[in-house]
């Protein structure tokens, strides 16, 4: 059986290995997905006679804490990839482990300190337009975090067997997972001020 081509070597036409072109096309489509929802937020906000200040409903210190957690996880993700570039597999496992733990911390904080208190106060998406767009935007983002954890956990665990057979291909896979993870961080960088501070 012929191996899949251009998983390591760049394709002549694009100068890129296929996985990298694929993830960037996917990320471009993600820009439009979140872009549509951000546009919805703007339409709803501009078309509304009254709009609450985000800080009057949401917990700003907790949102800021989660921003710090996600930014730190992006840093550890880059270090995980750099460790592979240095042929340091144990360094990769350590940094990728930190990335996964930080992502889990983000979700735990989100659930126990943000969503749960709101549900306890009967602040559900159906309560008002602000809460509806808040839960849709942060919920979709949280689903992306869950997806990132699943992919990163696979590369930390069973998927890392590829390192012994095809180290360059494995390094490229981690780079692709990293690009996705940084995009998730990028979205949160805009969500935090828009929802919590304005």
């Amino acid at each position: 059986m012929e191996a899949i081509p251009y998983t390591v070597k760049p394709r002549e036409e694009t100068g890129l290995y296929n996985g990298k072109l694929g993830i960037w096309l996917f990320l471009a489509s993600e820009v439009m997905l979140f872009g549509a929802l951000f546009s919805t937020y703007v339409i709803l906000r501009l078309g509304s006679l009254k709009w609450p200040a985000g800080s009057s409903i949401l917990n700003v210190p907790i949102g800021a804490l989660n921003t710090v957690v996600l930014i730190t996880s992006s840093v550890t993700m880059v270090f995980a990839w750099l460790s592979l570039k240095e042929k340091n597999f144990s360094g990769f496992r350590r940094q990728m482990g930190f990335t996964i733990l930080l992502a889990l911390l983000f979700l735990l904080v989100k659930w126990f300190f943000e969503y749960t208190p709101k549900f306890q106060h009967h602040l559900y998406p159906g309560k008002n337009t602000f809460l509806a767009i808040y839960f849709v935007l942060t919920g979709l983002h949280a689903l992306h975090v869950v997806g990132g954890i699943a992919v990163n956990a696979y590369f930390w665990g069973p998927g890392s067997r590829m390192w012994t057979m095809e180290p360059d291909r494995f390094t490229n896979r981690v780079e692709i997972a990293g690009l996705y993870w940084h995009f998730v961080d990028l979205v949160w960088i805009f969500l935090f001020p828009v929802l919590y501070l304005l």
Binding site: V31, G35, S39, L46, G47, L49, D185, L198
Partner: protein, 102 residues
Amino acid sequence: MKTPQPGKESAKVKAVGVTLLVLTGATVLASKLNAGIAIAAGIALLIAVFKGSLVASFFMHLASERRMIVLLFVSALLLFVLMMGLIVLARYNVYEGLVHVS
């Protein structure tokens, strides 16, 4: 993309990480200025755009990536900005007497 030099790259990543954390603090502080929604939104979005550029340029390596990738991602961002621009412009073209639904 240029091959990264691990030592240099590590220092750069740490510097960008610290800058992002400092800017997060700045965003929160700026929101407490009570300068009005327009100014607050301007400052918050300006800082967010700067932080986003740092993540895209250094963590996602757009600064040293092939032109094709940069064009692909920037095109998507431009389409998004165009979509937002049209929405904001439409806001100023609402005919008199229209009742907003809130």
